[in-house]
C-alpha cells in the first residue's frame, strides 16, 4: 500500500468511529426525548337511548245518535268511547261541528256533547259542556282526557264516555218536520 494511504487509514478509522458515536448520541437523544410515562386512570359512565312518546286518542261508537224521527220536544242520546292511546293527558276541544244537509231541521236541532267517566249512562248524564245549534258551537269539553301511567310499563290506557244528546226544541219551525240529518264533529286533543 502506498505510504500516503497507510498514514491516512488510521485517520479514516478514527473519523468513522467518531461519526458512529455522534450518531448514537443523536439517536439516543431523539428516542429518549419522545417517550414519557405518566400516571392516569379513567372510567366510563354509559349513556343510553331516549325514546319519545306520542299524543293520540281514538273515538269508537258505543250507541250512535240518529237524527231521525225527532219531533218538537223529543230527545235522543248516543254514547261514544274516547281512549287516550298516547303518553300525555289531552285537553279536548271541538274545532268543527257540522249538521248536514243544511235544512231548517239542521238549523233547529240542538246537539250537546259532554265527556264523562267511562261507563256513564248518557240518558241521565249532565250536558253543560259543548252545545251546537244552527251554526254556533259554544263551550268546551271537560277534561283532560287522562293518559296511561308512564312510570308503570304496560299500564292500562284510560277511557272516557262522550255522551251526545240531540233535541228538537218544542218551538222548532214547521219546516223542520219530516226531515233528518247527520252531524260530524272534529275534536282536537292538545297536551295539557
Amino acid at each position: 500500500m502506498p505510504t500516503h494511504l497507510r498514514r491516512a487509514d488510521p485517520i479514516r478509522r478514527l473519523l468513522r468511529a467518531t461519526l458512529a458515536v455522534a450518531g448514537g448520541i443523536v439517536l439516543a437523544l431523539v428516542t429518549v426525548a419522545g417517550s414519557y410515562a405518566y400516571l392516569s386512570a379513567s372510567t366510563t359512565v354509559p349513556g343510553g337511548t331516549i325514546s319519545a312518546g306520542s299524543a293520540n286518542f281514538t273515538i269508537s261508537t258505543g250507541s250512535a245518535v240518529a237524527l231521525t224521527g225527532l219531533y218538537p220536544g223529543a230527545t235522543t242520546y248516543g254514547s261514544y268511547t274516547l281512549t287516550n292511546t298516547g303518553d300525555v293527558p289531552l285537553g279536548l276541544s271541538v274545532t268543527t261541528f257540522t249538521v248536514t244537509p243544511a235544512t231548517v231541521f239542521a238549523s233547529a236541532v240542538v246537539i250537546d256533547l259532554a265527556m264523562h267517566p267511562a261507563g256513564t249512562t248518557c240518558a241521565s248524564a249532565a250536558y253543560s259542556q259543548v252545545s251546537h245549534t244552527g251554526s254556533a258551537t259554544t263551550g268546551t269539553l271537560a277534561g283532560p282526557l287522562p293518559s296511561r301511567d308512564r312510570y308503570t310499563p304496560g299500564a292500562a290506557t284510560p277511557t272516557r264516555t262522550l255522551c251526545v244528546r240531540a233535541t228538537l226544541p218544542a218551538n222548532a219551525p214547521d219546516g223542520a218536520k219530516a226531515t233528518s240529518g247527520s252531524f260530524a264533529v272534529v275534536i282536537r286533543g292538545v297536551q295539557s
Binding site: 414519557y36 405518566y38 400516571l39 392516569s40 386512570a41 379513567s42 372510567t43 366510563t44 359512565v45 354509559p46 349513556g47 343510553g48 337511548t49 331516549i50 325514546s51 319519545a52 312518546g53 306520542s54 299524543a55 303518553d87 300525555v88 308512564r150 312510570y151 310499563p153 292538545v190 297536551q191
Partner: protein
C-alpha cells in the same frame, strides 16, 4: 569480578526485581455500606360506585328503556364515581368528557347539561369543568357525582314538537379521567 560485570549484574537484578514487582501491587482501599430502601410508586384510581340511575323532573326513578319522554320532561342521568390519588409530588387533573346527544329526537331536545360535583376536599381545587388534585404526603380520596340533564322543552305552539313523536336520541358515554399533569 570485573566492575562492569558487577554493575551490569546489579542493574539486571534490579530490573528483574522490578519486573517481578510489576505483578504484585498494593493500594490503599476502604469500604462501607450504604443501606438501600424501598421505593414505592404513587397511584391513581377511578371507579364507578354503584349503577347509574335515570330520573325525571319530579325526581322519580325511571326505566330509560321503557319510559317515553314528552315535552316538558327533563331526564337526568346520575352516576357516582370514586377517585383516589397518591404521590408526594403528584399534580393531577380530574376532568369529564362526552355526553353528547344525537339521533332524530336530538333536534327537539335542549343541549344537555353535564356536571361533575366534587365535595370540598383537602388537596382538590376545582375551577370550571376540571379539578386539580395534589395529594401531597397523604392519599386523596373522594366520591364525585356526575350528572347529565336533558330537557325536552314545551314550546308556545302546540304543534312545534309533534315531529318528535316516537323518535329516539342517543346519549353518548361519558369519560371521567384523572391524569398526572405533564
Amino acid at each position: 569480578m570485573n566492575k562492569m560485570i558487577k554493575g551490569a549484574l546489579a542493574a539486571g537484578t534490579g530490573v528483574v526485581l522490578l519486573l517481578g514487582g510489576a505483578g504484585t501491587l498494593a493500594y490503599w482501599n476502604a469500604e462501607t455500606t450504604v443501606n438501600g430502601g424501598t421505593i414505592t410508586a404513587g397511584n391513581l384510581t377511578l371507579t364507578n360506585t354503584g349503577s347509574p340511575t335515570w330520573t325525571d323532573q319530579t325526581g322519580a326513578t325511571i326505566d330509560i328503556a321503557t319510559f317515553r319522554v314528552v315535552p316538558g320532561d327533563t331526564l337526568t342521568l346520575t352516576q357516582a364515581v370514586t377517585f383516589s390519588a397518591t404521590g408526594n409530588n403528584l399534580v393531577g387533573t380530574l376532568s369529564l368528557a362526552g355526553g353528547g346527544v344525537s339521533g332524530d329526537l336530538a333536534a327537539f331536545l335542549s343541549a344537555p347539561g353535564v356536571t361533575m360535583t366534587v365535595p370540598a376536599t383537602t388537596g382538590v381545587t376545582c375551577s370550571g369543568a376540571t379539578c386539580t388534585v395534589t395529594p401531597g404526603a397523604a392519599t386523596v380520596s373522594q366520591t364525585v357525582t356526575v350528572k347529565v340533564a336533558i330537557p325536552f322543552p314545551k314550546t308556545s305552539s302546540p304543534t312545534d314538537q309533534n315531529g318528535a313523536m316516537q323518535k329516539t336520541a342517543s346519549l353518548a358515554n361519558l369519560t371521567i379521567r384523572l391524569e398526572q399533569n405533564h
